[in-house]
Symmetry: C2
Subunit: 417 residues, 2 copies
């Protein structure tokens, strides 16, 4: 039997979703701006709740990358508020008519953007994701159910109170946002069985969480899976740029899914590039696990084991090897990559295009860091996660990705012949 209180909240979300689907853009945008203001106003309360979460997490011995994602500070709260304002500034996708055409017999056909209905997100740490998800779902006319990790519960409930207070005062129907206030995984399983009420679930977190959600969900799942991302430095690369991108992709933030885990270098660059890139990465605090060439280039490089390829370290560790050609780099990425973010540094346009066409990943980057695969960077305002599923959405999911399109057809007595 499902928890009665939970079921009632999900039913309330379904009811709210019908009103949300036709909520005027002006109401949604005013609510988003009010939510931003409330986050700023409630900053101290949110930070106090976050401090409580951090104390609890430390007592429980939380892993370092997860702790890092759990921390809020004034800058992160300002980032959450300004993301909501950016989302408010976007055009409303709902009701938009796309791909209009008139058939030879005069039948008028178009696609109309409509919300999905009720979206659930199951995630870990990252209390700022709570606000991003609420804002994106509201803008796209969806109700949203958020089940964050137990480590972030105080932060998430405090953010929920701020957002709901502001939005509901502006005319958004109660039931639009629900933070599941339980640390009990049984309730997550119950939630995942409610396929008549919830239209989509987005799991966002470690491999075990993704697997749990995928196996138990009866509704469609958009996976935000782990990122085993590569940087390939091609023969013709600008070596200053290559060094800068390799260090940024690995070391700018090692706790995130779009951080690079492996560096592939074209063999012709062995003498010119290996000494400097190993030096730069080690100076940035990175432990290198390399093939024979890398070990020869710097004695501080550890010998890589087979299991290092394809590992998401989420830590200042990087696997590195030489490859004989672009083809070899492509084969390595096909074998070990997780279709997340893949980068090439090259001066050769043909190789750049081939890499962009042939690499199967949600974002394929030329002369840019894997760390840029992000909804905010790509101009989506924020993201509900980065889909590594290929259906519906592939890459950062912004407002448009939380909608679908139905056909709207207008005739004048048209029938099937």
């Amino acid at each position: 039997m499902i928890n009665a209180a939970l079921l009632e909240r999900v039913r309330a979300a379904k009811t709210a979703s019908r009103t949300l689907a036709s909520l005027p853009s002006a109401v949604k945008d005013a609510a988003l701006r009010a939510m931003a203001g409330r986050l700023r106003a409630d900053r101290e309360a949110i930070l106090a709740a976050n401090a409580k979460d951090l104390a609890g997490a430390d007592a429980a011995g939380i892993a370092a990358p997860m702790r890092k994602r759990l921390i809020l500070d004034a800058a992160k709260i300002e980032g959450m508020a300004s993301a909501l304002e950016e989302i408010a500034s976007f055009p409303d996708p709902i009701g938009r008519l796309e791909s209009p055409l008139t058939r030879p017999d005069g039948l008028e056909i178009a696609r109309m953007r409509v919300p999905l209905g009720v979206i659930a997100m199951v995630y870990e740490s990252r209390p700022n994701a709570t606000s991003d998800a609420a804002g994106l779902c509201l803008k796209s006319g969806n109700a949203v159910i958020l089940r964050g990790g137990k480590e972030a519960l105080h932060s998430n409930l405090c953010i929920e109170a701020a957002l709901r207070g502001a939005a509901e005062a502006t005319g958004v129907p109660a039931g639009w946002l629900h933070v599941v206030a339980t640390t009990d995984r049984t309730q997550v399983k119950e939630l995942l069985a409610l396929d008549t009420l919830i239209d989509l679930v987005v799991p966002r977190g470690g491999e075990e969480l993704i697997r749990f959600v995928s196996e138990n969900a009866r509704m469609p799942v958009l996976r935000h899976a782990q990122g085993v991302c590569h940087v390939f430095v091609d023969a013709s690369a600008d070596l200053d740029m290559a060094e800068k991108i390799a260090v940024n992709a690995k070391a700018q933030n090692t706790a995130v899914c779009n951080a690079a885990e492996a560096l592939l270098v074209h063999a012709v660059l062995k003498e010119r590039f290996l000494p400097r890139v190993t030096k730069a990465l080690i100076a940035a605090g990175v432990e290198l696990r390399g093939d024979a060439a890398f070990v020869a280039a710097d004695p501080r490089v550890i010998v890589a084991r087979e299991s290092d390829w394809g590992t998401e370290f989420l830590a200042p560790i990087m696997a590195c090897r030489l490859v004989g050609s672009l083809d070899e780099a492509l084969a390595h990425i096909t074998k070990h990559g997780t279709r997340h973010s893949e980068a090439i540094v090259t001066g050769d346009t043909t190789n750049a295009l081939r890499f962009q066409r042939e690499v199967d990943a949600s974002a394929v980057l030329v002369n840019a860091s894997t760390r840029l695969n992000d909804g905010g960077v790509f101009g989506l305002g924020a993201e509900l996660g980065i889909s590594t599923s290929k259906l519906h959405a592939y890459g950062p999911m912004g407002v448009d990705e939380l909608t679908t399109r139905k056909f709207v057809v207008t005739g004048n007595g048209h029938i099937r012949k």
Copy 2:
């Protein structure tokens, strides 16, 4: 343990999908035209195979709607061939760059259309769907695995031979198309477990088939579910048009999912419309199951039972009732509809727009028959099915719906700050 021969064929499809992803448009289009020519050339052989299937189906006592869908004739084969030619005439979606933008810092971002990989379809009857699916998947750069019903096996194998012969002679890699030549459902279950090789499965058929696939598939599923479709005749409807649309939606072909199963009429039209529409429908061979008003309008109308609302008859049977308002019609459709095809006949633009906005269905039609919800009619050339899932595709699935979009990003040493 999975059947070794089947696994080998699916692996061959995966291998072929990598080549198909970058197959030149000219090769694909030449193959599609050659396939059309071969279907015409092999017409007598295909009809002979179909006759064998029909004899077997009759011996097994096949249901009438399924038998109707199983029949091929010269016109249907010409329809299959010309659909392939129409698909050949479309622009190639693969590699197309969409939604390009340059961020304030100069980072260039676009979406590139790419194939999904390997698509499986599990379906019943309808051997013409075999050719449509093969054509749409080839155009969109996907390999395709088709598991039709046992009742259509001779037809499907004969069509497969024609299509493969023509396509592979034109340069399409072997492995691009595979008709599973088994009548054993265990093998379908095995197929549905191959989520590392198959990217999408489309079940198309009765409720039981859809449920079987949804419950057993480990890869994403796009459901082509049953259609409980309605025609609502509003107070301001042109009654000649309303009668014509009601008769067409119900009676033009009763064996298909976009046929209407229920007629809702605004109460103000009771005297003016009920006598004529009941007469016209009964004259078209339809059994009517109505509310008190309909029974009073024509003694041949049977009293509807509660279970008649929400039933997909797939037969010349129609449920019919009066509703007091547009709101009541909308509530009835929300309760009993299956999000497939819903039509309103109205002279009132406000009501038309409200119906189009508020009805949640893959196609919402104004002054047009539900029978028009079809990939061919909508200009998609053909369809792989009509998705009543909301994720990824909603409505007829043509070439574009068999692709996804990845982000392609070009920088000049851009890093994450």
